[in-house]
Each structure stands twice: as structure tokens, then as C-alpha cells.
Symmetry: C2
Subunit: 376 residues, 2 copies
């Protein structure tokens, strides 16, 4: 929450939920990453928030871009970044999308299996590839499944296959899980990565790069360690496992770059109890899972909510969205403490909503429009 955001909200009143994102906070976050990891290139994860103004600022600051699709590549290029600052980081790509990316100048691609290597050899000859490996994401609030990456024993085969087909086997990537609260979680993956580096070096393939992924958290309800604490833990693990041969490194922060830069203003539409002896109150907002707060799925991300009644007595509330869909409930399993005096029509501020809100919005489920966004 910044004074600039509060001023903007006061100066322009309007109906419906809206995100306001302060570019000054993004600038500070970029500087913190650059300072904590001076030898590491930053690839901003465009999917976290692809707003043109966010991308333009980051391009000016020198950031590179991690993209998930051709549309995101085009957005990154439109921000002013050259193609050599763009990584096509999705391990799942149609061959014609690889070809389009290659035509646009992109030369760095993620893979996690031999079939994807073969598409790249055909559609992006000579490109640089890194292989994503599975790793432990314990401690992450948005843990990753086995969807991306392969077991370490397959990674060597995948990269050898790339080398054989004329691609440049650049290195490895992994992801310790989004909103990772434990800075030591990079250690296990770096140990595995170093073993693969040695294994391939013995076979004449010299990897050069480790993509440390994202996972850097933003502050929601609980406190988090500072970026420099993560940097120290990562540098320690790099020295421990790679000794004097520390590879190039890149990071892909998304949430950690823009999460705390945004605040959503929403409105209390209804407050009700379901029966005479109900222990919890139901508080319905004009924002829910389908117009911005998709990451409350399974109550994974718990956003701080500020009201004008803060400071007084509180009581446990279920918080739900405005649609006629029963899954559009934000917090129920673990009710949320809100002020007793909260009223229908009150505005509330939902903090830490700069990442993974706007583009998750449905195009119009139940007739509710996508989340409005203002970048200041």
C-alpha cells in the first residue's frame, strides 16, 4: 500500500472492483533483485502481470522477459526489449508457435522431454535450450505439481538429444514453487543440477547456465524473508555445489516483482448469516475467483484485507465473490477475521494483488466484467 495508490483511489471514485498498481514499487523490487544478485540476469515472468506500462518500465530498467506464449513474446517485444532478452519458458509449445517465436528472433527455449527437443530442432535450428528438472517444492504456498520438468536421470538424455540435433545445450532450469517461503529450497535442486553438469561434461557437453526460476514471494498475511536472504542462500548453494565453476544464472521473478505493487479496491455487497445460530458471518464482495482473485483457489493465497473499520472488534467471516457459482468462495475453511462493524457498501482494500489477478479474470462469467486495472 502506498500513498500514491491511496491518493489515486480518493481522487477517482467509481463502481466495481479495480486494481491500482504503483510503478515505483516495481522499480524498487527490480533494484532489490539486481543488487542482491548482481551477476544474475533477471527474466521477469510476463504472465504475472503483462500490463504494457509494467513491461515498458522493466525493459527500460534492463530486465529480460520469461514468456509463456507467442502473444507474450509480442508483448515483450512491444515493450522495447530486443528478442535476445526474451526466453520462451513454456515447456509445452506447438511447433508452429516455436517457428513463429524463432521468426521473431527468440533463441532461448525451455524443454523437458525429447519430443519437444525434436520440435525445436525442426522449427528453431541451432537455438539454445535449457532442460527443466523436477524438484522439491515443499514450503511453497502455490506448490508446483509434476506438470513441468523431468527427473534428473532423463535431463541428461534430453540435453544430449538436443546436442545431437544441432541445438545448443545451454543448461538446466527448475522451479521451487511459487511464493516459496524457505530460502534454502534452492539447495537440493542446485545439487542435482551440478551433478548433471558433471555428467554431461564427461560426455563432452559443457553446460553454461542455470535458470533458478521464480518462487520469490510477496508479502501477504505472513511475513517473508527479504530478497537478499534468498540471494545469500542461493549464492552459498552455488559455491557449495559448483565450486570454482559457477555457471551463468538467471532468475524469473513474477510475483516477487509486482505482487506488492498492487492493491484492489472492492466493495461489500452483502453481509448475512445462514441460520440463527451461525457462528460465522458471510461477507460477499464484488470481486471473487472469476474476476481477479483466482489464486484463492483452495485458499492457497491469503491476501491482507484492510477496511475503514480496522482496529475495533473482529469476528470470523466467510468471504465470497459475487457470482452465482458456489465455488466462488474465497475463504471458508479458515474463516477470515473482519471488523464487526463492517457494513454493506463499505469499500475494502485487498493488498498484494499486483500479480496473477488481471489476466486470470474471466471474460464475463455471470456477466461480471474482467478486473479493471490502473497503472500509476
Amino acid at each position: 500500500m502506498t500513498e500514491r495508490i491511496l491518493q489515486f483511489l480518493r481522487s477517482r471514485r467509481e463502481d466495481g472492483p479495480r486494481l491500482v498498481l504503483d510503478l515505483d514499487v516495481v522499480r524498487e523490487n527490480y533494484a532489490a533483485f539486481a543488487k542482491a544478485l548482481p551477476d544474475t540476469r533477471v527474466f521477469y515472468a510476463v504472465k504475472a502481470n503483462p500490463d504494457p506500462q509494467v513491461l515498458k518500465l522493466l525493459a527500460e530498467l534492463g530486465s529480460c522477459f520469461d514468456t509463456a506464449s507467442v502473444v507474450e513474446i509480442e508483448q515483450a517485444l512491444a515493450s522495447g526489449a530486443s528478442a535476445d532478452r526474451i526466453s520462451y519458458g513454456n515447456t509445452i509449445k506447438k511447433e508452429r508457435d516455436i517457428q513463429r517465436a524463432y521468426e521473431l528472433g527468440v533463441r532461448l527455449f525451455a524443454v523437458d522431454c525429447e519430443a519437444e527437443v525434436e520440435k525445436l530442432a525442426r522449427a528453431a535450428p541451432g537455438a539454445k535450450v535449457f532442460c527443466r528438472i523436477l524438484c522439491d517444492s515443499t514450503g511453497a504456498e502455490w506448490p508446483l505439481s509434476r506438470k513441468f520438468g523431468c527427473a534428473a536421470e532423463l535431463a541428461s538424455r534430453v540435453l544430449e538429444h538436443a546436442h545431437r540435433l544441432g541445438l545448443t545445450a545451454m543448461g538446466l532450469s527448475f522451479h521451487v514453487g511459487s511464493q516459496q517461503r524457505n530460502p534454502r529450497m534452492w539447495d537440493g535442486a542446485l545439487k542435482e543440477a551440478a551433478a548433471i553438469f558433471r555428467d554431461l561434461a564427461e560426455r563432452g557437453i559443457n553446460l553454461q547456465m542455470v535458470n533458478l526460476g521464480g518462487g520469490f514471494p510477496t508479502k501477504y498475511v505472513k511475513n517473508i524473508p527479504a530478497v537478499k536472504v534468498y540471494a545469500q542462500a542461493i549464492l552459498h548453494s552455488l559455491r557449495r555445489h559448483f565450486g570454482n565453476h559457477i555457471p551463468e544464472t538467471i532468475i524469473e521473478p513474477g510475483r516477487g516483482m509486482v505482487g506488492n505493487a498492487g492493491v484492489i479496491e472492492a466493495e461489500v455487497v452483502l453481509i448475512a448469516r445462514k441460520s440463527g445460530n451461525d457462528k460465522v458471518k458471510w461477507v460477499y464482495l464484488d470481486i471473487g475467483k472469476f474476476n481477479g482473485l483466482a489464486e484463492t483457489m483452495d485458499e492457497m493465497i491469503r491476501y491482507p484485507i484492510r477496511t475503514t473499520f480496522d482496529g475495533g472488534a473482529t469476528e470470523p467471516c466467510v468471504i465470497a465473490g459475487p457470482t452465482c457459482d458456489s465455488v466462488d468462495v474465497l475463504y471458508e475453511r479458515e474463516p477470515y477475521l473482519l471488523p464487526v462493524s463492517l457494513e454493506i457498501g463499505s469499500k475494502v482494500l485487498i493488498e498484494g494483488t499486483g500479480a496473477y489477478t488481471t489476466t486470470y479474470s474471466s471474460i464475463g462469467f455471470n456477466g461480471f466484467p474482467p478486473l479493471k486495472s490502473y497503472v500509476i
Copy 2:
């Protein structure tokens, strides 16, 4: 799946997933509801699929419309339905949205608490209200939480309050859960409704209507009872609990009206194994949770998937979507049997996707566009 849909798909090849919806099937579904429940008014749940051609056809056939927002009211009006055929069925409404609906001519509103009644008394004087009660949704594949409705003992108070404030206390509504596979689940709620009718009649308030909600299923992987089986069970329960004083009834089918009218064509983007001894294969499609198949959340809705390789040997597969989001996995807990010979680049047909697909799509998560839709 209809011959018209197959012909359309053959005649127009294109990149990216697309829904094709056959209006002939919607026409048949409407006729089946009208025939099975001739004394019941049909209020189509616009949120299931608000495509203008679907709404226009249903308006011509005589359907009424259940809406969740002012935008949906405007869509129903644009289809040619007059305002007296529209219900504002969302129990969670901003007072200014109630006022807007009232200005547009809508006179029938859902409530489930006294605070909502007070908004209506101010913004829609004299309007007709029905109170939603909580009911058991066991047997539903998309069960409803306690988000909508109040306990039976509160419903009488809510309707009395409406009566006192000059509104017309019309009746009750309930919802047995979407994709309800047990036709007898309406019985318990109708028993409770009849008791509230008697209770209020003793206090001089004569309710007239029971809104039987939705819940009528569409065929996915498992077989379902026909509409007439539901109708017989409901009529039996109405006679059992209301005797010779059977109230007006309305139903709100959404999924049951359009679900089986639509088929999505998608493409296999990648097939991979995660390790040498992996028992399941990962099959990645160009459609997932964020561009049309949101209802695979918690693997609740299991769509039939047809491929050109059907009939041969199958093997268990995890099916996932194309985004860089680890929750974008459709079926993993219970893997899906797909042909061993399925190939990267194959087209697959996902049946029963006419409801709750297009408008759930995100506006562009990961740069992937919303689901394309063709109504034929």
C-alpha cells in the same frame, strides 16, 4: 456430438481450440423440458452460455431467463424477451444494480436474508421476491456450498419482512446442486418448502411459487436419467407434500439445456513421460482450466474425449492444459484412459462442453486467448 458439428469442423480447419454448439440440440432439450413439465415455466440460466444466438432461440421458443447480473438482464432483453420473463436470481446484488434492473422492468428477485430484502424495498418497491433455502445437494457432481440460501427457520422471517416492507412474498427457491444425478433429491427440499408455505399461510401470507432451481444434468462420461424421470419424481414429491394445493413452479436449467449441444475441438500439443519408470503419460492439450475447461476444477466434471485413434489399446494419462501454471491440470488424481497411438498434433473432441466453458475463459492468462465459439 451431431453430424452438423462434425461437418462444420471438417469444413473449416483452424488453429486453436474452439467450441461448436448445435442449436438443434438446444431446441430438442427445451422441448423435452416443456413436455416433461408442461405446467412449469422454464427460466434458462443465462450464465451457462449467454451466446446471443442461444438466447434468441430460447426467447423464440418461449423460455424465460434466470440472470445473475445487470449485464445478463441486458443480454436477455436483447434476445427479444420482455422484462416479465426475466428473474434476477442472484441473491447477492448491489442496491444500484437492483435499481437498474427495476428500471429495465424486472420485477422478480431472489433473496436469502433480511438485508437483501431491505435493499429491494428501497430500490424495487412492490417487487416479487422468492427466498432461497439451503438444501441437501448430495449426489451432485458440482455440489453447492452454503453460499446461497438460508436455513428454513430463517426463510419465514425473511419473507415476512418482505411482506411487511410492501414487497410481494412470492415463494421459495432451492438448488439441489449442479449435475444432480439423483432425481429424488428434490423431495427433501419440497417437504421443507411445503412446511414454510403452511407456516406463512397461518400468518396470513399466501406464497404462490416454488422455484425448483437447476441441477438437471447433461451426459458426460456416466449415463444420466432422462428429463422425464426427473419430472416424474418432482411431480410425485409436489403432490406428496402440497396435496391439492400445488403451487406454480419454475425451473432454471442451464447445463441441462445447452451442455450436450456443444463440442470443443482441441489439439494435443505434447506427450511426455516424467521419468523412465513413469506409469502415466502426460498429455498436454491446447485447452485447459484457463481457456474453457474451468469445471475440471477438483476433477469435478469429467468430459468424454474422442480421438481419431479410438478403438485401439489405451493407457492411463494425466491430461493438462497449455499454460505455465501448475494447477492447469485437468485429470491427474484419476488418470484418463487415452489411446496408446495418440500423437502430438492430433485433434481431440471434448463432448458435453456447451455449458460453463466460454464465459469462464480468462481474458488472456499466459497470453492464451479466450475460447472461440461457433453457434450453428
